[in-house]
């Protein structure tokens, strides 16, 4: 106590507000164009048409079947492309890192993945229409090779759940490759040698060491892929023209004109999305921290 009295500076570091002046433009920008718009949606979802506080919008979110369906469809597509893209992306990353393929293939794949993971929206939709649409290249190829007409003899439709999922996969698995390749590089050769030295077979090494070490990374990346697909709008809109009622398309319709006849419900729908995205980002960063501890 006596010490504190003698040396007040050391006990409470004075808040030096001048230092914070340097970051004010950034915070101002973030508040104006990121925080305020988000708060507006949150506030809106707790407001009724008369401008009073209500939680009716939130409750209605869980009662309106069409909204629940939209969320559910979005979640299914995102999960399917996250898991499918995650597994496929992992196998690809594996094949060019520890899988024994020649080195040049690795840099080719990484470059291509950088491009493909950024290739989305309208051009991607058009590319898939040219590939798997009714008159698409692969559709014709399958017809010529196997005599199967995808659109008449199977239930396949590019503008449906599986069609959109296949299209999303085009940017999903490259993203997985980009995240997993460094993680696979992080597997030390010595771990494999130590395991072998202690009597383990290759399978045992993968099951007991490599896979458990990579698991947080794999799961975390899949969650990231989930969020990536969940928030996507342009690709789905360009491909299906709004016919497939995923949540982003429903929100888009609500922005264009109040199709729900209740602005508050529209805001609640948007907030629900933000909540799901936030949960997945938290899951991702938690798993990422775990994996960094191991793969340092």
């Amino acid at each position: 106590m006596a010490q504190t009295a003698l040396n007040p500076k050391s006990s409470t570091p004075a808040f030096d507000w001048k230092k914070w002046l340097g970051v004010i433009p950034f915070f101002l920008f973030a508040i104006l164009f990121l925080v305020l718009p988000s708060l507006r949606l949150i506030a809106g979802s707790f407001t009724n048409n008369e401008g009073q506080f209500t939680i009716a919008n939130i409750l209605q979110l869980f009662q309106e079947q069409s909204i629940l369906d939209a969320y559910w469809l979005s979640i299914r597509i995102s999960a399917a492309t996250a898991i499918g893209g995650g597994i496929f992306g992992f196998l690809l990353a594996y094949s060019v890192t520890v899988g024994g393929l020649p080195k040049p293939l690795r840099s080719a794949l990484i470059t291509f993945s950088g491009v493909a993971s950024n290739f989305a929206g309208v051009p991607l939709a058009f590319a898939f229409i040219a590939t798997l649409g009714r008159t698409g290249f692969v559709t014709a190829l399958i017809k010529n090779l196997f005599g199967v007409n995808l659109y008449q003899q199977t239930s396949f439709d590019l503008y449906s759940f599986w069609g959109l999922s296949l299209t999303y996969m085009y940017f999903q698995f490259p993203l997985m490759v980009l995240i997993m390749a460094p993680a696979l590089d992080g597997l030390k050769r010595e771990w494999r040698e130590a395991a072998e030295n202690l009597g383990a077979s290759t399978t045992q090494y993968w099951m007991r060491v490599a896979f458990p070490v990579l698991l947080p990374s794999i799961l975390g990346s899949m969650i990231l892929l989930f969020g990536n697909a969940f928030g996507a709008y342009a690709t789905a809109y360009a491909l299906t023209g709004g016919r497939l009622g995923i949540i982003t398309i429903q929100i888009g319709a609500q922005i264009r004109g109040d199709v729900l006849h209740n602005p508050g419900l529209g805001y609640a729908m948007a907030m629900g999305m933000v909540v799901i995205m936030a949960i997945s980002l938290m899951g991702y960063s938690w798993l990422q921290k775990r994996s960094e501890r191991w793969l340092r």
Binding site: W191, A194, A195, N197, L198, G199, R208
Partner: protein, 353 residues
């Protein structure tokens, strides 16, 4: 028949010969070090014993069985890596029990053995910690315990101390040696640090560019190096070219200054060029009684190194280092002054030029 026998082992990567005709017999319970600079083939030799590399030619026999081509996971030799190589997803106890669980030992046996190993390395308090929560020295001890838990036939240590701080390096090296002795386990220790090799080993193999230079006890390696490389790599050394003056009496001359050696020079002829090596601590100022090998020297420089004072003297045209132990009453010679310097006949090593 020896316990571990490496005979005529050669390893090539493409056209480069990394290990050339390596021959060594190691007895059970022996602690052998492979000493040499990086790229001398010592690690490759060790990895061939572990099974991570297959010799291009030659044989490796362990306890009577030919293991030359055997897969690493069939050998039961314990390996310790420079980077510890602990499995990051397992606790200390799980790491140590890994090999036993792979062998499908009953859980009770595993647990008992793990406890035994954890107390052997004095890490009882840390058994449930993960590797990233341990210091480097602790991690390397875990790695030692993990290798020993399997009761390996040979323990292979690949520069296990190189990544550690100087202090921990010294204490851990004593610990490794003590554990090795108490278990009576055969060990091969790869290092580039001559002090480490000298302090820990029963025998040392000095290697250079894939070739064995000399094999011997630390005492032999230090005091009687047989090649210029071994002499230079182990300990600090003065060496100079010289000429044989009188083979019968083992007299040589460095720039006209004569020295008498204990080495038998009868195989050489007068006028032969040789290399003479003298350890700095074997040189001293001449006291009056001594008569042999007393030469004039100019004091060039005096460097204080703590326990030792290093004096640079010039004999003939060649500069020599001379080490004397420090004591508070030491009178340091003046630079530029002329003194008489001497060494015993045994200190004068004669090697091929």
């Amino acid at each position: 028949m020896s316990y571990l026998s490496i005979s005529h082992v050669t390893k090539k990567f493409g056209d480069t010969v990394v290990v050339d005709d390596f021959n060594l017999d190691i007895e059970k319970g022996e602690f052998v070090s492979f000493l040499g600079p990086s790229g001398c083939g010592k690690t490759t030799t060790l990895r061939m014993v572990a099974g991570f590399e297959i010799p291009t030619s030659g044989k490796i026999l362990l306890n009577g069985a030919d293991i030359t081509d055997k897969a690493p996971n069939q050998r039961n030799v314990g390996m310790i890596f420079q980077s510890y190589a602990l499995f990051p997803n397992m606790t200390v106890a799980q790491n140590i029990g890994f090999g036993l669980r792979i062998r499908k030992e009953p859980e009770a046996t595993v647990k008992q053995r793990v406890d035994e190993m954890v107390s052997l390395i004095n890490l009882e308090k840390h058994a449930n910690k993960y590797p990233y929560q341990l210091s480097g020295g602790q991690q390397q001890r875990v790695s030692l315990a993990r290798a020993l838990a399997n009761r390996p036939q040979v323990l292979l240590l690949d520069e296990p101390l190189s990544a550690l701080d100087a202090k921990i390096r010294v204490s851990l090296r004593a610990e490794i040696r003590a554990i090795q002795k108490s278990l009576g386990i055969t060990a091969i220790f790869v290092t580039h640090d001559q002090e480490e090799a000298l302090s820990i080993s029963d025998r040392i193999v000095v290697m250079n560019t894939g070739v064995m230079e000399q094999v011997g006890t630390p005492f032999e390696i230090y005091n009687f190096p047989t090649t210029v490389f071994a002499a230079n790599f182990v300990g600090s050394l003065n060496n100079s070219s010289a000429e044989v003056v009188d083979p019968a009496n083992s007299l040589i001359s460095i720039d006209g200054v004569q020295f008498e050696s204990a080495v038998d020079l009868k195989q050489r002829r007068k006028g032969d060029k040789v290399r003479v090596a003298i350890r700095p601590e074997r040189l001293s100022f001449a006291s009056e009684q001594k008569k042999a090998n007393v030469v004039d020297a100019t004091i060039e420089n005096v460097t204080f190194l703590g326990s030792v004072v290093r004096i640079q003297v010039k004999i003939g045209q060649t500069k020599f280092n001379m080490d004397t132990f420090n004591n508070p009453f030491l009178e340091l010679p003046k630079i530029g002054s002329m003194e008489q310097v001497t060494c015993s006949r045994e200190a004068v090593l004669v090697l091929d030029e």
